[in-house]
Amino acid sequence: MAGKRLGKQTLKLSSPPSVISNAAIVGPKEGEGPLSQYFDQILTDDYFGEDSWEKAESKMLKEAVKSAVKASGRSNTNIDFMFAGDLLNQIVSSSFAARELQIPYIGLYGACSTMAESLCMGSLMIDGGFAEAIVCATSSHFCSAERQYRFPLEQGVQRPPFAQWTVTGAGAAVIAETGSGPYITHATIGKVQDFGIKDANNMGAAMAPAAVDTITAHLNETGRRPEYYDLIITGDLGNIGKAIILDMMQKEGYDITKVYNDCGSMIFDSEKQDTHAGGSGCGCAAVVLNGYIAKEMKKGNINKVLLIATGALLSPTTTWQGESIPCIAHAVAIEKTIGVGV
């Protein structure tokens, strides 16, 4: 066991599982963004043929899992476990999708950190010899999130310039014991960080400290420098969180500027699409990872990536009770080849 623990938060997998297939489904707005060519399916409307936003989101998650499973060459019956979660109360998108899919299901709540959280947990289970193939999935939907956390869609409100836009998207990855990469080599589990932000519109600032904590833990415990990776990418810090994290990482002694990017900043064109500080939501990291990053890795443009998905662990109730927003960030290192570095 000692050999697998590199420190308090980082785990090194002794038999790194391979990511053998991916799927990314997005809504119309995301399909008009800068990454549109990377997504497997772009919906023509947010209802996806269903009569409620929640049903639409669950269908997106289900279809993303089905696509990823199909692309893996396996079927639902020989995927051993499904790790999934979403933003809705009681993670109903995932649970109702699991009802249809009939894969043994472990539901997770990490808010927008769920993509990394599910990959961490799935990899640990395979590395521990408990499964051969696992599907990791998550989703978010602008309309279902607004309805639960913020305002009814038709209400006339002004969003502040630092607000973010919840991505309508679902992403799934199948990871397996045998494969030829890219490999999940390390998992760094986050600790909850709360620097006192109370404004639910200011997610980037709320989540940045959690990302900083997890990235520094990962780099310190693996002994790697930022330049080891081609890409260190956060889930949804957005344009505001981006500025904060680069500065805070400098204070920690790491300059990540050359390799850093953020899924929320990449998925929308904030000028043309009026998305203010960028995208957010579980689906943001999920579709960027399973769309853009997966395809760029296949092409050979990215070989080593550290994905840090960040989540804000608030509820509407805690906000009304005047609480601040505790956040968490989980990280997975995905590398095309193993055996280099720690």
Binding site: K29, Y47, E146, L153
Partner: protein
């Protein structure tokens, strides 16, 4: 002329609301509660009537005007019906607006569904 006065007074009250929303941590809902209460109090001490006399619909249309109607109605009923008027007067004078809001709201809900945002 009354259109100009209504425009100026109504616009000014909305600007106060905008500044409260942009400069303080007050949410729109709290600003509205503050406005309706302020309108009632200002009518209670006799000031708001002067604003209405000058600004017409510019003073009655913003939510401060709703508070003004409530307070004015209560005070009128107290004069005519004593203490009971404090309870019945406010709703009496705003009944049209409230009933309309509920009824038209329900009709619109039957007819329309929310559209996703672009």
């Amino acid at each position: 002329m009354d259109y100009l006065k209504a425009f100026l007074v109504g616009g000014a009250i909305c600007v106060i609301g905008q500044l409260l929303m942009d400069l303080t941590k007050l949410t729109p809902a709290r600003v509205l509660v503050a406005f309706v209460t302020a309108g009632a109090i200002l009518q209670g001490i006799g000031i708001y009537q002067a604003i209405v006399d000058f600004g017409g619909a510019g003073a009655t249309t913003p939510l401060t005007g709703f508070g003004y109607s409530l307070a004015k109605g209560a005070m009128k009923e107290v004069k005519e019906a004593g203490l009971l008027g404090a309870f019945t007067g406010g709703l009496k004078s705003t009944a049209g607006g409230i009933a309309g809001a509920i009824f038209f709201g329900y009709i619109m809900t039957l007819l329309f569904s929310p559209k996703s945002k672009k």
